[in-house]
């Protein structure tokens, strides 16, 4: 009997800790979403913990008056460009590391991992000089190129691990039955790797979507969403923005990324396990 009580207590304790952790993560998100739609009067009423009156006014103002909608468009363009460029460059490299044996491979792989330890975003500061010269400053392509540099090590490592997950024998079988190496890659390996690659793409998207430093440094008028929000909300200069605008902004920024990751959630743990080894 005593053992059973201890067991039950342990179980209750366990679930309490888990519940607390989950609540700690979820409550701020829920609260900020709620407050993003709360009417001014309810928000400034200290007794109204859970507001009663809601409005979409702030979200609309942020989106259409303060330029967040353009920011969303710009962010989408930058993120898409980043995916395209980093995949064009990254997939061949990942495939090569996964499927070939060649001298110097370990060194190359290690240096890619080492490059990941380099704070590429802050390097946007000196980069701006080159951008001004090349007329890339304040362009979305410029931001995408820098984001590509940031995402590329991840893309190479993720794709290489995805490709090595596809058995070499499938491809060899295809080659035995008459396909070229490129043909067997396109017809066999790529379709099998597709779900993983899609998840990697979402990952890259979110990485670019959330990046603020590079975007703020390299653009002035063509702001991505985080850069735009930062410039209208930031503490010292934009401290004047009323609170509820901040929450509406948080909502606008968070929702798309959360949806994206929701679709890629199956791969989350393994993918980070891979990239961060």
């Amino acid at each position: 009997m005593k053992d059973e009580t201890v067991y039950t207590l342990k179980k209750i304790g366990f679930y309490t800790v888990i519940f607390t952790a989950v609540a700690w993560i979820l409550i701020p998100i829920i609260v900020s979403f709620l407050y993003g739609f709360t009417s001014k009067a309810d928000y400034y009423d200290p007794h109204m913990v859970i507001p009663h009156h809601y409005t979409t006014e702030y979200v609309r103002v942020i989106l259409f008056t303060l330029g967040a909608w353009d920011g969303i468009k710009n962010s989408t363009i930058v993120a898409t460009l980043t995916i395209i460029i980093s995949f064009i460059l990254g997939i061949p490299a990942g495939y090569s590391i996964a499927k070939f044996v060649f001298p110097g491979k370990d060194t190359i792989k290690l240096s890619i991992i080492a490059l990941r330890m380099f704070p590429i975003p802050v390097m946007a500061i000196p980069l701006i000089i080159l951008y001004i010269r090349l007329h890339l400053a304040d362009t979305l392509l410029g931001v995408a190129l820098a984001h590509t540099a940031m995402a590329l090590p991840f893309v190479v490592l993720i794709t290489s691990s995805i490709f090595s997950g596809v058995s070499k024998e499938y491809e060899e079988a295809a080659m035995v039955f008459g396909l070229t190496r490129l043909g067997s890659f396109l017809k066999i390996t790529l379709p099998l790797a597709l779900p993983g690659l899609a998840a990697a793409a979402m990952f890259t998207f979110v990485m670019s979507w959330n990046e603020v430093f590079v975007a703020s440094v390299l653009t002035l008028t063509h702001r991505t969403l985080p850069a735009q929000i930062l410039s209208i909300m930031a503490g010292s200069s934009g401290g004047a923005a009323p609170d509820y605008y901040k929450f509406a902004a948080a909502f606008i920024m968070t929702l798309p990324a959360m949806l994206f990751i929701f679709f890629a959630r199956k791969y989350l743990v393994t993918m980070w396990g891979i990239t961060l080894k």
Binding site: A21, V31, M117, P119
Partner: protein
């Protein structure tokens, strides 16, 4: 087996060259901007940086944030990962909830915690309604800088613990269950198993988590800029300020170089001191 060919190198080359350029060019450019004046070597820019009122507090604050935030994150992440490595009902949902912040940018994270901690935010409202306080606690503003520090720590711990958690959890899942069961059979208690088997085998994961987190911590910017502005100067923030407001490219470049230097320094320290000896003899 395979005909000697250049193909594997050709496939890697574009990505590798791209990366080298985007690391190498800005690095050289930054060194040039930092140490030359009108084409000649000069320490003027360095002097200008060091004598800036904000420089040393930016340096100190950045390190202080890292020193406070990272240990808390590591501790929480290990506890969560150990708990969630067991099988129980709702495990998948709990894991998903804990990794949601991975998708949230530091800017958004700052804004979300502002909704918790602002004078009319959730925390103040709850505390006032249950009667613990009669006036709201002010977390923001120049005169409450130590509370701003606390708010940023809370926001960052909340937002970026997930990445540490995921790395540790992935590492735990790679440890074969039989290793732990063997220790159990041979008489080890839960703590002994953690200390002698789980932690040593988790070292590589802890190492990469620390490297990644420290790397990001050195670049801390968005959340500070949103919640405290320059009340609490940080290195990346000062670099941004010097570049965009003062337009002093040289000083801004020095901030970038310092951040890069610190990242590499800490990375090297972790690699040296968290070595997993048993993995090295295998090669």
């Amino acid at each position: 087996m395979e005909r000697k060919s250049l193909l594997p190198y050709l496939l890697i080359l574009p990505a590798f060259a791209y990366l080298l350029f985007f690391v190498g060019y800005p690095l050289l450019q930054a060194l040039y901007l930092a140490f030359t004046q009108n084409g000649a070597f000069s320490l003027d820019t360095v002097r200008r940086t060091i004598n800036d009122y904000y420089f040393w507090s930016a340096f100190k604050d950045t390190l202080a944030f890292a020193a406070v935030i990272i240990p808390i994150q590591l501790f929480l992440a290990i506890v969560f990962a150990l708990l969630l490595n067991k099988a129980f009902k709702g495990k998948d949902l709990a894991i998903y909830a804990l990794v949601i912040p991975l998708t949230i940018s530091d800017v958004a994270g700052g804004l979300i915690w502002y909704s918790m901690l602002s004078p009319y935010g959730f925390v103040n409202k709850v505390l006032m309604n249950i009667g613990l306080i009669s006036h709201p606690i002010y977390f923001f503003g120049y005169q409450f800088r130590s509370r701003e520090f606390l708010a940023i720590v809370m926001a960052e711990v909340w937002r970026a613990t997930s990445i540490v958690f995921i790395i540790i959890l992935a590492g735990l899942q790679m440890i074969s269950k039989e290793y732990i069961e063997a220790a159990e059979v041979f008489g080890a208690s839960y703590w002994t198993r953690l200390r002698r088997i789980v932690f040593p085998m988790l070292k590589p994961s802890i190492q990469s988590a620390l490297i990644i987190r420290t790397l990001f911590a050195m670049q801390i910017f968005g959340v500070v800029w949103i919640l405290a502005g320059r009340d609490l100067p940080v290195l990346a923030g000062e670099g941004f300020y010097q570049l965009t407001v003062i337009k002093d490219y040289g000083v801004a470049s020095i901030y970038a170089l310092i951040i890069a230097g610190l990242s590499i320094l800490f990375g090297a320290v972790y690699v040296k001191f968290l070595k997993a000896e048993y993995l090295e003899v295998m090669r």
